[in-house]
Structures are given as C-alpha cells and as structure tokens.
Amino acid sequence: MFRFLAGRILTSLISVFGATLAIFILVHVNPKDPREIFVPQSGYGLTQESWNRLGDRLGFDKPAPVQYVEWLGRVFRLDFGVSLGLQIDVWDIIKGRLGATVQLGVGGWLIAVLMGIPTGVVAAVWRGGIFDYLARFVALVGQAAPAFVTGIVMIWLFSVNLTAISDDSPFAFLRIFAMPAGGRTPDELRWKEYVLPCLALGWGSAAGLMRLTRSSMLEILDSEFVKMARAKGVGNTTVIFKHALRNALIAPITSMLLLFAGFLNGALVVEIVFSWPGIGQVALQEAVQNNDFPLLLGTVIIFLMYFLVFATLADILYTVIDPRVRLR
C-alpha cells in the first residue's frame, strides 16, 4: 500500500512539473518575443523603459533553466502578475471566482451520481421493461449531446418557452428554474439557479454512470452466487440489496470518484452558457477574447493543479475501495 501511494504521488508530482515545464516551453518556444504576449497587442502607451523592465522581470538575461526555476517559484507563491484587461492581480480575480466553479462542479457531480447510479440499478433489475428502455434512451441522448447544447436547449425551454405559457398551465411551476437575465455575482446565487446548470453538466456523466451501473448489476445478477441465493429461497429484495448491489456498486463508485476531476473541464463550458460567475467565464470569455495572457496562464495553472490533486485523490480512494487495483 505504501509503495503504491508513494508511486502515485510521485507520478502526480512529475505531472505537475511536466505540465508547468510544457507551459513554460510553449511560452518560450513561441517565435514571437515572449514579452509580446504579456503586453496588450497594440503595445499602447508602452515605453522602451517599461519594455526593458518587463524583460528584467521575466529574467531574459539568465539561462533558460534558471528562468524556469524562477518562474516556478513565482507560480508557487501564486504570483501570476497583473491582468492586462482588468488591471487587477490575477490571483485575486481567480480567488473570487473559484467558489462558484467548485459549487457547480460538485452540483453536477451530485446530479450525475444521484441520477446515474439508482437509475442503473433499477434499469438492471427491471431489465427489458419500460423503465429500462426509458433510462437507456435518456443515457443515449445524454452521451451524444454536448453540455453546451443541453444547456442552451434548457435555457430555451425554461427561460423562453415557459415564460410564454399561461399561469394556470400545469407546467407553470417549472418557471422557478428559469435563469434570470444578465450576469450575477457569486453571493446572489440561490439554489434554484443551480438546478439547470448542474443538470446540463451532469447529464453526460450520469449517462455513463448509468450504463456502467446497469452492466455491472446485470453481470452480478447473472452470477452463480446470486443464483445460489435465489435457489436457497432468499427473497427478491434481499437478493438485490444485500447480495447484488454491494458487489455491483464497486465499479460505479470508483468511476464516480474519477469523474469528479473531469467535471471541472466541463464546468468551464457550462459556465459560459449560463453566464455563471466562475473561473470559466474569466478564463474563456475575458482571457481568450481580450488576449489577456497573464490571466489565462494563471487560470490554467490553478486549474491544472486542481485537476491533478483531484485525480490523485480519486486514484488513491479507488485503491482503498477496490484493493484488487493495487495488484496491477
């Protein structure tokens, strides 16, 4: 166990260094002067003096490995510089927005787990029934629809079409989920506003989890020891909950831990669709569209760390739950 843990953590550390090195090389292998991506494209109002100062700050006179180490030191002190567009410290911007992204990620993950696993179990138990086909259909749609299309369709249904129906319509109550127009600040978020974005984010993974749960449940229900239990005369409920479910859930539970790290990736896109006040909006809307490179770099690095930490945690928890993995 210790060997495994040490190895896994070592791999993650190597990933961190590899990823930062890759970013560093990408920035410096650029045919342009690296300074050009740290200043506004027009170079508006930039004097020769500040140009040189920027060069000093980036340490151009030193050899590349030294530059890398110094840059890494700044990164670990969370010093990413100042955003070009907003003129605020990059870490301050990210700090204020991280919460909303994490909330969205956790919400989407909960939806995926709460939708995927029970549905998969029920679909397997009632195999071939209406519910099974319904669940498989929903899963197919969820796996094929990208999160942004799902999100847009939801906005269209809830915020456009539902506002047009009359008040006594049976669907009128659904209006509470509609997103209010315009951007919001993190402290204004109410629970109702979480429903649609989390659903858009979680649906695809819920579909995957559902298929996984269903197949592993079917496999277990077909196994010898379940048949044995049935032959002994154990009741259907007991067979399903005591014998089958416990064994069938190993795969989905482990995969749902791994899913969590991946959710942050999807959260970015969903944030844009729902104008969610998280990092995705900063990173993609402001940084990409305004060519705000320090902001983009800071976001990417924070994101990378975040992602790697969760992936490592998931892997470790995975081995705790399913010790067979350690043997590989």
Binding site: S15, A144, A164, S215, N291, V325
Partner: protein, 356 residues
C-alpha cells in the same frame, strides 16, 4: 472527458451493458421495444444514413450550397433584421403553436403582397432559416460539415498512426521504453485538454502555416488528444500477439524486428485499431465543437457548428433556430457515431467491450 471515461472503463474492467444484451435478444419478440432496440443495434441503418449524409455534405456541400458562406443575403432590405429572421424561421415549425400564429401575424409586408405569399417566398429560399446577419443557415451547415470530416480524416487518422506506432514499439520491445511510454501516457491523460487546447491556440494563433496551406491549429490539438486513446488498448493487444507461436517462428526464421512488427503484428491489431478509432470519433467531434464553441477552435467566419451555436446564443429569445439547428446537427452526428462505433465493435472485436 474522454480520457476519464477510458481510464474508468479500463481499470474497472467490467463488461458494458451490451454483454448482457445477448441473452436479452434470445427472449425477444414479447416486447416491441426490445425488438426495436435489437434491430437498431443490429442494423444501424439510420445512423449510417446520417453519417453518409454528412460525408456527402462535406464532399459536395460547398459546391451545391444555395447561398454564400459568409455573406448575409437579404431579400428585401425594407424588412428589419428580426422580421427577416422570423419569417425564415416559420417553415421550421415554430416553437409553439401560439408563437407560430404570433409570428405570422406580426409580419408586415412592405411590398404590398399578402403576408402568406411573402412568408412562403422567404421560406422557400432559406430551408432552415437565416441567421442574425441574414446568412443562410443551411448553406453554413453544409460548409461546416467539412470540419467534422476534417477532424476525422486528419486528427483522428494522424492520432491513430501515432498512437498505434507508439503502442507497437512499446508493446513489442517492452522494458524501460515501455515503462516510460506508459508513464507518459498517464501524465498526458491527467491534463485537462480543454485548457491545454486554449493555451496552445492562444499562443500559436488559431491558424498556422504548413508549407503553403493555412491549417487550423485545432486539428493538431485534437491529434494530440486522439493519440493517447489508442496506446493502452493496442499495447495490451501487442503483448498478447508477440507471444504467439507464429511470431516466434518468424523470429527463428530470422525476420528483423521491423519486419515482425510490420508483417506479423500490424495485421493482427488492425481490427482493434479500427474499432478504437470509431469509438473515439464521437468524442473528437464533441471536443471539436466544444472548442469551437468557446472560441478556441475554428474561428468565427468559418461556420463550424460549434461556432454557429455560439453565435446564435445571443438571439435565443427572438430566433432560437440560430442555435438549435447547428446544436441538433452536432447531436445527431455524435449520436449516429456512437451507434456506429458500438456496432462496429460488436462486429469486429467484441472483446473490446471490456476495454473501450
């Protein structure tokens, strides 16, 4: 996204739902749903039809498109932007019946013709409507279909060649090289590809020059996403193949390593390669549209479907078809590709149910 799924399914090693489906088929006939599902999985005619349409659209689409790709075309300039867009929207069916009648009523014809004449006229011209600058959505869809095909022909194919080559060499030689490759693939898998793609696009620009062509950076980014998907599965396959007697016989007969790999291992893994490629295609198309949607992929004047979805987003109140039509197109293609991939897997290499 895709990488997570790969990892999950490989490590858990459990069968997917289809394995259990075989016995479902035996008691079919009682339930029409079962029967319908069975035939859909067994003979994916509709998905293949959609994919064939996509291919045809990509090949001849730009030549037969009724309207120019980037130029807005206005039939009568007296009408405002929204009127034009709405009029074109009606043939699609309207959002609700109330909406339809509302749209038909508020349409004012400046030229003195009857309302219905005018609507019919617009509808005939724009099959799927016009977007916010008066560009024909159908024509743009046709042009955009090329991008999905480009992703498949360039990114997937080059990723496939790269991944297969790496897997072949690391599987065949094993040892320290294999260890390094495995670690590298693990690390590569752990990167959030969306972010990496954005940084690369931002640094090098959305288009790069290769010899005389200007190629979208996106295609290279997707290639770098695609190749890892092949390595693990094919490496495992090579491990099995290289122990077989005919490979040993070839070695005894004095065949060189390259010859063994090329003549004896490659034919053995071809089925797996094709299946993995077809299973990865939908993920790549999704990645392409997502990147284009967030602005880090294909750049706006080019009508990638993700770009079209994003551009129409601002007009969802007045003209939802701007974003729903390309969104549906992406959905249908990915859905068909999923069906097709599953079908191909069941046909060519059913063992892969456990792995990919």
């Amino acid at each position: 996204m895709a990488t997570e799924a790969d990892r999950t399914e490989t490590t858990t090693g459990s069968t997917t739902e289809d394995a259990a489906q075989i016995d479902t088929y035996t008691d079919r006939g009682s339930n029409p749903l079962t029967l319908a599902w069975y035939y859909l999985r067994r003979y994916p005619i509709i998905p293949i039809f959609i994919l064939a349409l996509l291919l045809i659209a990509a090949i001849i689409g730009p030549y037969v498109a009724p309207f120019p790709r980037d130029k807005g075309f206005s039939h009568d300039r007296n009408l405002g932007l929204w009127e034009r867009s709405r009029a074109a929207y009606i043939p699609l069916g309207g959002t609700t019946i109330a909406e339809l009648s509302y749209r038909a009523c508020d349409f004012i014809d400046p030229n003195g013709g009857t309302q219905s004449e005018n609507i019919a006229q617009c509808g005939k011209l724009h099959i799927l409507g016009a977007d916010h600058t008066g560009r024909d959505i159908f024509s743009r869809l046709l042009h955009g279909s090329r991008i999905s095909i480009a992703v498949v022909t360039f990114s997937l194919t080059s990723g496939m060649i790269l991944g297969t080559a790496v897997a072949l060499f690391s599987g065949y030689y094993g040892g320290i090289f294999d260890e390094l490759v495995t670690r590298f693939v693990d690390i590569w898998n752990a990167l959030p590809f969306l972010m990496v793609a954005i940084v690369v696009t931002q640094l090098f620009g959305a288009k790069i020059e290769v010899l005389i062509w200007k190629v979208d950076m996106l295609l290279f980014v997707l290639m770098l996403v695609a190749w890892v998907g092949f390595v693990r599965v094919i490496r495992a396959q090579v491990f099995v193949l290289r122990e077989l007697d005919y490979v040993a016989a070839a070695r005894v007969a004095g065949a060189s390593d390259i010859r063994i790999i090329w003549r004896h291992l490659v034919p053995g893994i071809m089925n797996t390669v094709i299946v993995v490629a077809s299973l990865n295609t939908s993920g790549l198309i999704l990645a392409e549209s997502t990147l284009s949607f967030v602005g880090a992929g294909i750049q706006p004047p080019t009508p990638a479907w993700g770009v079209m979805t994003n551009e129409g987003r601002d007009y969802i109140l007045e003209a939802p078809h701007l974003t729903l039509v390309p969104g549906t197109a992406i959905f249908l293609v990915v859905l068909s590709m999923n069906f097709f991939g599953d079908w191909l897997r069941d046909r060519l290499d059913p063992r892969l149910r456990q792995v990919a």
